[in-house]
Symmetry: C5
Subunit: 355 residues, 5 copies
């Protein structure tokens, strides 16, 4: 998972800054372009084939949300960049999926990079996908690594005029997208919570080496989550502070709400980290207890038989004159003495709480 | 307990922001609405059936405290919101009991979310309940998850004209409510202190695996308490700084007092955390000491008998010519030698402080 | 000791803020009131019976230091409060000995709460006593839990006109009182240093379970000291910054000196904490070394005799034809072989540095 | 590696500040001087013999990049300093290779010290090289410890007019140089990642003492990397904030990009540090598991044979009357009993999960 | 070493602030007073007998450096204080050698306290000496605990007109003195590095209990160094920020250089601390490895002989009918079986990597 931060940077060293190189896995076959054009009274949605079909919307007064799925076609992205007047470094950041969440203000547009997380159940791994947003006064362009369905409910809300989205500006749309992404973190935490609960029960009943392995994976996941959410929190915070003219103060209140969510997530992540540390301690101490129990019982075991064997050894010697040996019942006395010694030791160890 | 922070967020992902969904346990059968209307000379208290009965008080000049017990009836809360002009996100936060303590200024009213803690003796668990306060110039609305009695003494003080509450404004009432909640933390700490003391004695006399379990639970509780009190401290601090016109400077001094209390609570929590860490160390070292003691005594035990058994073994051999065996008293000499060896080893180990 | 922070808060929950309730131990029989009235040329000291005798001094131009020993008589304190125009919360803080050191500015007077520490040799415990100071332009009232002698040298200096105290204003008197208290921390550290040194020697020679206990107590004491000195440092710092008209700039330099002392104390406390952590490590490693030594020697012990016993066992078998047994000197050869095996093992273990 | 920070400072103590003493290894035979002179239309590159040949470029309007390879010739550097009006302390810092990355503004020129890192495969060690940059409005002088090829691609870009470098000013050239150096950190991380992966596999299969050694070396390298990148990040940050007239705002955006890279590197380093801590834990717990396994199996082993040997010991005694011995089949019963005891113990230990 | 911070404070508690009491060791017999009077063209150096001889220099226009060696003669220091108009608290700080490095601005003079460190090879201890500087526009007075030679090179530079010192003002002289002291820290680090290297080799070859002791001493020294250098860094930082009229901006650049040195020293100290932690870990793990090795080999040892002894025990029983005993070669078969069992166990343990 840590290599996630460093997917393939070597490929780039030495290139001119601003050169577009797609860094990351190619997750879709074909780049998908979807345009949603709307204002308070009007709504249109279409899937287009060529990037040129997006261009007229730049100068249209209605709000336009252009969604690009797939980042490997750098030419296409370059064309968008030229038409919408984006800085080369912005384009470079969009196609390089190693970015940390960040926000940059270019005056006539804001550029936001986010990380969407999902838990890949098949591979039992946290996966992350980079989502970039660019928005000006009347357009918003979102770039995703592949077609996702996290924005579907939002599209529906626009279509069905639910909530403020049709009335508010593009900044509210940007907020709604960020909110969707932050909400996906809650889903991750929910799933994580269930997995942790399962392992906690395992830990209480039959801890194994695997349990340890799983706890360690959990810890890594939480570190990963934390590293993703902290810069996201900063991004939302700087958007919310209301310093950008592109963001209306009415939207600021909503962004503050998202900000509160990021803080809640950090809180939850920290709680889980405490919990996992606790589980690790429980695991280690239960292992050590088990070992101690083994050692204690067995050592006591040995400690009882060693003197008994010694006594038997004495009467196994071949001295010519050992008076006890002659007496007829001495064997039985001998056995009795062994039993007495054994029982006394047992009682003693019991009393000392060693058994 | 950590799931407390994440009760059931999954239910919400994808919904329009501002949609009211009650998140949390339903703790009462019916929502209770109580109105306390007062000024310096006048006092009236009544339990009402419908929310509409509260509405006239918005425009009345007297101070009005409306207390709502139960959050599951979102329609009722929506009606209040519409009548008192509350922001949809505020209503959403009120019914979502996963909030962290926070404070927001909406110009003509302040919105404060708090967490009340109590120790559920039956379930041996710390429980938390969300309390939201909304107050403007002449009204205060408090939302509780269920009917509690923590505000009873305050109500009495209003009724009996004790203290400044009748003379001061709504901001003082808000202060008094916050103060009641902060005071409830002291009660928690008091109870906690007693429980810790009990376990400390147990630890000094007969520590068991359960002791460890209890210490770990205590640690979790303190983490939980700390996580609750820190944002509360921030809330009180920002109220106290005197930046809000709704809060008079005379009330500021009282809020500073509450602020001091939150700092005291944090201090106490940190002291308990230090103490619990110490107890954990004591537990672990007493366990390890016990184990060492067992191992030491028993190993010494073995070390004494092993050479003795060896000597006995020599005289158990069947060599045809072993001169010692022939002599009549050699058996007794043999026994004497064994005793000498055993005693010397004992003395040696004693001297080395291994026994 | 941690309960120190939470003496008996339960008693108060639910009361009107500003209600005077003495919280803490009652340390004196009768409240003592002492008045020291002075200016550059004049000096008078008297012990008075009733609080009313203090009142005329409020409006007298000379500087007046009123010292109250004992906090349990809340009526007396209430009277002072009314006469000198003190805020009810100030009075509440004075009689509640659970305060953290703090400073509050009420315009015409400053309110300072301090903690005096002393080491109770009989109970071998750090004790703390709350001292509150209230000072305006021409009067200073100090409240102590019981009659102490830490302010005696200062009183003498006033009487004998030593130093600046007679010439300077009431703010200098306040400084001198704070200085006395900070100086008492140095005494604590001095005593603590001696106790640590003693334990360090014990640790180097004969560490026992008790040593561990003492180190842990020391650690607790340092945490306690640290928790007391940090807020005190903040108090002095805010007094020194020169923002209060009641404090003249000439006194500011002296307060900066006190501030330096508090920093020095924190430095010393941190050094001791490092030292104690080191001592704990030394203790644990010396314990573990001892255990390892025992285990090693005894295991080697066993390892030598086990093969020897085995060899003896072989010749204890009753096979009808064992050629070695027949030969006359074989017993001696057998003994010789045993010695050779034993010595070789010993040499081998020596060489491996296991002995 | 830590001595890297303190190569040979003793040589200098007591000298006049500003005295030029080369501190560090002499890495090249002869100092190499290369001049690249260019503007939007013009390009010239030459290797010169004497430092005087650089001087005319100071007053030429074209942009000039003078690159010095080798720092041991302090006279040469002094000459440059005099001609370009550099402060003596700047020169001292250039030849002292113990500098931390830093940035200083001298009004008409900026002075930047950087550390270039590379991994020396032969010596399996991280090496660092100091690079100093001085740039004014129309010239940039770079000082390297030896001829490197990290700036080659940049030179090519200038030559082939790739990117903005020919159009932009000297500040962009400085940015490009810093960018090259920061990119070299990514290469280090890439290589490091591969090495870590290799050791991780080793750890999963056959951990040895050497594995531990390697993990520790890795940890040291990450500390070293972190110590290098943090001040570098500060340097880039202060350049980027746009407070220096020598840096144009257009370049500021590029520097922000470099700043993001430094943050990414720190993120990656922290991830690796977490990972290495995890690996260390895995190593230690796998060692301890191995040991426990050995101890457990062998102790169980002993625990089974000890009672068996005792039983055999009983029938090895020479009592004159042991009834069992007389009966013909008792030997076989005896053997059977031994087997029963042994198997029961085995089954018991199995059930207890000790085997 | 920690007591260094608290040499003998008890002696002072209760005294009037500003009372001069020499706190610290008396390190010289007689106080030495040396005057160096110079300007750009003029130089005079003399050793004087009485403090009064210094007084005329206060009003002389040339720059004067008065150096006092020895702090026990409080009268002498009081006379200087009176003549040069120093605050009583300054004098108190000069003679109290428990000060932390600090800086205070008194308008017409600056007061700087520094700590010089040296390593006492005979006592194998870090020693510290307090150096106080007071400087105005045309004079600088330095107070040392005893005659040192750390300022000799500087005196030579003044005499021989090396560097800027003769041309620059008193502030540059102050800088040069501070620089000398900071340089002495580098020497300490250099020596420390050598000692660490030596111990590191010892650790790699023959670690003993003493090695542990030495590492712990090293850790203490680094904590001590760190505690000395941090406040020094703050002092230099506040001098460098250019807020004091007594310090010219040209000197500011030099002070920034010293500041960089203090940061370098902190870096080096932190590197050493990391290194020492690593060494401690190596020590502990090598100890534990050794112990494990012993335990493992010996337990395996025992595990091989225990079953063999058991088999021999079987044939030592005196059952009347044991068929095997009768057969002539059974003894040899018996021996062969023992060898087979022993070798199989050996092979098994080898395969399990326990040997």
């Amino acid at each position: 998972m840590p290599r996630f931060f460093m997917k393939s940077t070597k490929r780039k060293a030495g290139l001119t800054p601003g050169t577009l190189v797609h860094i990351g896995e190619r997750k879709v076959e074909r780049v998908g372009i979807r345009i949603i054009d709307y204002d308070e009274t009007f709504f249109e949605e279409k899937e287009v084939e060529t990037v040129e079909e997006c261009f007229p919307f730049r100068d249209k007064e209605t709000m336009t949300w252009i969604n690009i799925d797939g980042l490997h076609d750098v030419e296409l992205i370059e064309k968008i960049g030229q038409h919408f007047g984006l800085h080369p470094l912005v384009l470079e950041d969009i196609v390089n999926t190693d970015q940390r969440p960040k926000m940059e203000d270019f005056g006539d547009y804001l550029f936001v990079v986010l990380k969407m997380l999902y838990y890949d159940k098949e591979r039992s791994e946290l996966e992350s996908e980079q989502v970039s947003l660019i928005f000006g006064t009347n357009f918003l362009i979102s770039f995703q690594e592949r077609q996702g369905n996290v924005f579907e409910p939002l599209k529906d809300r626009i279509k069905k005029r639910k909530g403020r989205v049709r009335k508010a500006g593009v900044d509210y749309l940007a907020y709604a997208l960020i909110d969707s992404i932050v909400d996906s973190y809650f889903v991750i935490l929910e799933q994580f919570g269930e997995r942790v609960e399962y392992v906690e029960q395992e830990l209480a009943t039959t801890p194994t080496q695997d349990t340890l392995q799983v706890i360690r994976t959990f810890k890594k996941e939480m570190i990963f989550l934390r590293k993703s959410i902290w810069p996201l929190r900063e991004v939302v915070n700087s958007l919310e502070r209301g310093e950008f003219p592109l963001i209306q103060s009415a939207t600021g209140i909503y962004l503050r709400d998202v900000y509160d969510h990021t803080v809640q997530i950090i809180d939850a992540v920290e709680s889980y980290q405490d919990m996992l540390s606790g589980m690790l301690e429980v695991y280690l101490s239960s292992m050590s207890n088990k070992m101690n129990e083994v050692m204690k019982l067995l050592t006591v075991f040995a400690a009882i038989f060693i003197p008994l064997t010694f006594v038997a050894g004495i009467y196994g010697t071949n001295f010519s004159f050992i008076p006890e040996l002659e007496w007829k019942w001495s064997y039985f006395v001998f056995l009795f003495v062994l039993v007495v010694i054994g029982v006394s030791l047992l009682v003693y160890f019991r009393k000392k709480k060693w058994l």
